[in-house]
Amino acid sequence: MSAIQLLNVSRHWGDVRAVDDVSFEVEQGTMLVLLGPSGCGKSTTLRLIAGLESVTSGRITIGERDVTNLPPAQRQLAMVFQSYALFPHLTVRDNILFGLTVRKVPEAEREKRLTRAVDILGLGGLLLRKPGELSGGQQQRVALGRALVAEAAVCLMDEPLSNLDAKLRHEMRREIRALQQTLGMTMVYVTHDQTEAMSMADRIILMQGGRIVQNATPSELYSRPATTFAGSFIGTPPMNLVRLDDARGSVCVAGSRSGTVSVVDSANHILGIRPEHVRIAPEGWRAVVESVEYLGSSSVLGCRVGGEELSVVVDGVSPIAVGAEIYLHCPDEHIHVFDAATGERRGTCR
């Protein structure tokens, strides 16, 4: 059963199509991540679900109920904002209980839910503080607490981790995911960080220019990107996109005589090759190493093959220095083929 359903939803401001004909479903108890660069319409989509923006056209249902024209309060959802939106003059306790007080939930029930949320989030001892006296991570927990006690059918999160430092972000990422799974929450999570999306999501919707580029599981998104954009947006370092040339009857990497390509029969394609799938081999595409970036467990070589640049990931410290000539090889099954004109996937070879 789908907890949330969007059907041909659009939001236009004049000529600007912030969200353009978007349809998707979120399964009960799963985590859906809306991913994309800034301005792609992911936050607007979330705000449309929340009812903070109204749709230009289309239909939104939450739990089989058409909520398209309902105000936010009647949609039975909780939301965590990027800025946390904590009330600065209220204590942690009053912040968490704000919604329950508004909805006149009985005192005993309020206390019960508060105690539970405080236990889950480890907020004990902070209840009488004001948000200004808390660290970023603690504020984040309070915001989560407010969402938890609502016991809403759906929880929406708008880039909740972007104001935290890297270490805390990693911690909270795991914590939110664990929380979502143990409590069986249905969650829609907006982020521009592909690592966050890949590590947390059951399903990812990748958006660009107000439209859905791909709706897939994280592993599908990685192994079968629908467009060159999807390929290059997922993965660090991003997928290499290699343009091709026709050279005397055979197809080769643009500007490279040695870089012959057997997986396609014309140069109207772009090859997508992940840096981790390229191997240094005794023979293959001749390349010049232009940069070496040491990352600890691996190194990224920036190589030039003809007119194209390729990143190559090698284990540990690279034995190859800048300026060296090497040969690169990528197994055919790891080469993604995209249409050169539209950028759309043609499949891997085979």
């Binding site: 929340a50 903070l52 105000p71 936010p72 309060a73 959802l77 909780a78 939301m79 904002f81 990027q82 800025s83 939106a85 009330f87 600065p88 003059h89 704000f98 919604g99 508004v102 909805r103 004001k130 200004g132 407010r146 609502a150």
Partner: protein, 297 residues
């Protein structure tokens, strides 16, 4: 010791005092010296015709207790404060909510609300004088059209003070609105959205979130409104001259009359000390008591 050998610490001190000097000179010459001088002066009776002033001790202060005009002005001033402060503050807050609500034409509305503050006080008072004029004033024309009997707004004891209060409220509210507007725009919209999601009505959100968050501004405005209420004098010159029968006389206006009309500057100085005392009390009270209830971000 020649100056070149002075220690760096001493030089720092000298620099600090030098930098403070211009401001200190001004504040001493135009605030501290006159205040202290007024205090001393309040114990003297002016010498007439060039004779030296005569020390009279607390006589001026004793006379204060018997001076009915002073009592009248004091009561008037308290009434004036009680009338203008809550009215102008609540009006300012309401207007700020309105012009911050994202209605069409809100820039024009903001301008309208702010115009009274920009206009010169004397000109404003003259316009209101016309509104209040008996028989052909705006107010009377409207009342006449409705078939009501004539009222001499500024000329009767019952209505003179309320009329002056109305002008002051009209003038101050727009000014205070600007502070509220600035404070409102500091409140992130996500707070309103969060409240809305949690099911809070607009009214609940304003009552429980916005107004508490505006408290620092309210305190600031309150102090200013109190000061304004006690130093209000300009309108009186044009509107009522404190009359009729001192019905609209306020402290500062009475001080002006005593000091510069009757030239009893010693008694004027004593009155001034009373006024200063009131202002000091008001600000201590406001900062002392309210400060604890105010949430500062």
């Amino acid at each position: 010791m020649p100056p070149a050998v002075r220690s760096p610490a001493a030089m720092r001190n000298i620099h600090a005092w030098l930098l403070l000097l211009p401001a200190m000179a001004f504040i001493a010459a135009f605030t501290h010296y006159p205040a202290v001088n007024t205090f001393i002066h309040s114990f003297f009776l002016d010498g007439r015709g060039g004779a030296p002033a005569q020390f009279v001790g607390l006589e001026h202060y004793q006379y204060l207790l018997e001076d009915e005009v002073f009592h009248k002005a004091l009561v008037n001033n308290l009434l004036f404060a009680c009338g203008t402060i809550p009215l102008s503050i609540s009006l300012a807050m309401t207007m700020a909510f309105l012009v911050n609500a994202g209605l069409a034409g809100q820039s024009a509305l903001r301008l309208c609300y702010f115009v009274p503050t920009v206009l010169p006080m004397i000109a404003v008072a003259n316009i209101w004088l016309f509104f209040y004029t008996p028989e052909y004033g705006l107010l009377e024309q409207i009342r006449g059209a409705l078939g009501l009997t004539g009222v001499n707004w500024l000329g009767s004891e019952a209505t003179a003070l309320p009329c002056v209060i109305a002008v002051a409220v009209w003038k101050d509210a727009g000014f205070f609105m600007i502070f509220y507007l600035a404070a409102l725009q500091q409140i992130p919209p996500s707070l309103g959205e969060a409240a809305m999601l949690e099911g809070a009505s607009r009214f609940y959100y304003y009552r429980k979130v916005v107004i508490p968050l505006l408290m620092p501004t309210t305190l600031f405005v309150l102090v200013n409104a109190t000061i304004n209420a006690f130093r209000m004098v300009d309108h009186l010159f044009v509107l009522t001259q404190g009359g009729p029968n001192n019905a609209s006389s306020l402290l500062l206006y009475y001080i002006y009359e005593v000091s510069f009309k009757y030239w009893d500057t010693g008694y004027g100085a004593a009155l001034t000390m009373v006024l200063l005392g009131f202002l000091a009390l008001a600000s201590i009270g406001q900062f002392g008591f309210l400060e604890r209830k105010v949430h500062y971000r």
